[in-house]
Symmetry: C2
Subunit: 434 residues, 2 copies
């Protein structure tokens, strides 16, 4: 199945019958572009980002028309409302895309930074220089603004990228890609630094994730099943985000005012995000005082509670939480509550049922705060604040390509730095090894 | 095939008929040990290391006898001399093992270090804390001292590990493992923090590298075919070392004294190491002066030269380098030489034929040095020093579990820091997200 996305892609698509050959060609071009991008100056990269913003602004009508054609096709194909909503660009979303480009241009360039340059007894100096990863493959679903977001972050971090969006957004993606390429050319950078896969054949993803000679890392963005499939089949490292089964543990030493505010915010500020609390753990001595107040607050927000036996004893009339509930990422106004006896069973629960994403403790006890921070093995560990803070913008990364639940390379919110790596640099003056 | 390695392992081995179940049991124990190791104090970890050294010292006779039995079996099975040499422990190697434990104990503990703690506009403070990876699986070949080296580095960095050595070293490995476990117990740490796989069935490796629920990362140490097989089949991230096709480029702006010293040292200081130069690139204007001097020096060391046409024209009587030579990791007294026209074709050659391991430039030109550092995409990039410096000890890491040719996570020499990861820590005072 070949998408007739734009004039350029149409020509390419007719030429290629073979998906493997097409993907290899993209890979080869990306590898060559990566070598040029590695030495691109900060000002050229910023110039490209701002030129893209200009082109998008000028071609707003064209991009929105392409999006309208995607939406019409989507409705014909019976896509559900939620998917159509994610697919839709309106003026506000369009403005946010342009604003995003300006923000990325304003971020400091991580490339070239040298850390820890030290003299060694041999007389050499050794340090580590931050450099681009090379070629990044990004596989995502319906939202066309991801095309621009991903491209801008890869560009600023000096990488080339191959973007594979959802087929339902193919027309808008192609129109956005055209603006990106014009921006690159205007700044004298290779327009192959950002390539959007123009064929919608699913086999394209299979090739993209199994070309280690051309692609250094894959970042999948989308539903869990997409990510699991890619992780299973990739022959290239994957930076991925799986579940967010996040906890708040309220210790007996907590300030109850803070506990109440945090427990309510972590659940209700937004339901569908990965850093939303899904299970609340309450230390037994404060359960009796806190639970009725919490129940009242949650009732106001329409949050359904499911509790352990002790929670049920205190609150009465709430559903029993099952083993399944402790594992659940509801992404909905539902909360599991368990009463525990202190920090140890709390940490054990988090270790057993959690997804190592984001977990918080509420306590005024110095030693317990320290212990929770050291022992909870999650990508974000929080003391006395809402789990909802686990986010690249809140952390000050300036931008976020995703949140990694992996342990290697990047863990937690991934910004520009996560799209780079460090190599050793050695400065000598003729030294040889004895 | 079950190895009867020691009393404990013998019992285990008889109990298990099923390799998968045995490996899962090791994995489960390692996962539990990792949770305890994560909170182990620096002093307990150091105490365990020093206790291991004591036990090894006391049981020297026993360990050497076990090694002698491995060697006898190896001779019976017709192992070649090089392999038998790697397998053999003598007093000097034994002393080095004990000394290594003292060195690792003396290294700073990377765990718990918090970087870049900054206040955010929301009032939270955000930083990154260095924490253990969790469970590390190490697959290696004949050298029994790797058992101790790997165990000590994993322990110091707060990880649990599962070690799978070569079957030819099974008796020495088991005897060393017994000393390790006693050291752990003496310091009050779980003796399952270091587990040596007691069955020699090759299927054990297959299970070890496909248990993401129990193992966080695999580090293979050994020949290229072992590493390629593991990378291909692993369902867990792999930190690996492949080829070292290293280059020295001598620019026309080089100090010729330095160039001569570096080019000779990089090739001849040791032939079999991954950071040994395999191809020398000479800028045309200095080729005529340098080549005869180099040829003389290499002849003294018995290094065979293979050259491009221009090299042949200058030197005469040397073998022509083929396409294969530019790709070759000789690990032997053989050197490929190419005359190029400046830094650009030099970098192109390195990009095309190199293995992104270690590459050096010799130049007195500031701009060229800077350009080579930025543009050569290798794990170590060196200016005016021998490639042989690319080594954890020379870089000041204090210890080295290997050199990574990967780009993600760890690149170049991997010390204790490469066995850790960073999680975000957030310190608040009741903050909620608006």
């Amino acid at each position: 199945m070949i998408a007739h996305a734009s004039h350029t892609e149409r020509a390419d698509a007719h030429e290629i019958g073979d998906v493997a050959a097409y993907m290899a060609k993209l890979g080869e071009s990306a590898r060559a572009a990566a070598a040029q991008m590695r030495r691109a100056s900060t000002s050229d990269k910023n110039r490209a980002l701002l030129a893209m913003a200009d082109h998008l602004q000028r071609r707003r009508g064209e991009v929105l028309a392409a999006n309208a054609s995607d939406l019409a096709r989507g409705r014909e194909n019976g896509l559900d409302t939620a998917l159509l909503d994610r697919l839709a660009l309106n003026d506000a979303r369009f403005d946010a895309m342009i604003e995003g480009l300006h923000q990325v241009a304003a971020l400091p360039d991580p490339v070239g930074e040298i850390d820890g340059l030290r003299s060694r007894p041999s007389g050499i100096q050794v340090g580590q220089m931050r450099v681009p990863l090379g070629v990044i493959g990004i596989v995502y679903e319906s939202r066309p603004n991801v095309t621009l977001e991903a491209a801008s972050l890869c560009l600023k971090s000096g990488n080339a990228c191959i973007l594979r969006g959802g087929s339902e957004a193919r027309d808008a993606n192609a129109a956005i890609a055209a603006c990106i390429c014009e921006g690159l050319r205007e700044a004298g950078l290779p327009d192959t630094a950002v390539q959007v896969v123009a064929i919608t054949d699913r086999a394209a993803v299979g090739h993209l994730i199994t070309m280690p000679e051309y692609v250094d890392v894959i970042i999948p963005r989308g539903g869990k099943s997409l990510i699991e499939r890619i992780s299973r089949e990739a022959r290239v490292p994957v930076i991925k985000h799986l579940d967010g089964v996040c906890h708040v543990y309220v210790d007996a030493t907590a300030d109850l005012g803070k506990a109440l505010a945090i427990a309510v915010n972590a659940k209700t500020q937004r339901y569908g995000t990965c850093n939303t609390m899904e299970t609340l753990l309450l230390d037994a001595p404060v359960a009796e005082t806190l639970l009725p107040k919490l129940a009242e607050a949650y009732a106001e927000h329409g949050v359904e509670l499911r509790g352990c036996e002790r929670t049920q004893d205190i609150l009465g009339g709430i559903v029993a939480a099952t083993e399944e509930d402790w594992h659940a990422e509801y992404l909905a106004p539902v909360l599991a509550i368990r009463v525990v006896d202190g920090i140890e069973p709390a940490i054990e629960h988090i270790e057993r049922y959690g997804s190592h994403h984001t977990d918080a403790i509420v306590t005024e006890h110095y030693g317990l705060a320290r212990r929770f921070m050291a022992e909870v093995d999650s990508s974000s560990v929080i003391v006395n604040a809402s789990t909802r803070f686990a986010d690249g913008f809140e952390y000050g990364l300036g931008a976020e390509i995703g949140i990694s639940t992996d342990k290697l390379h990047a863990r937690g919110p991934v910004g520009l730095e996560g799209l780079t790596t460090r190599k050793y640099v050695v400065l000598g003056d003729g030294q040889v090894r004895q």
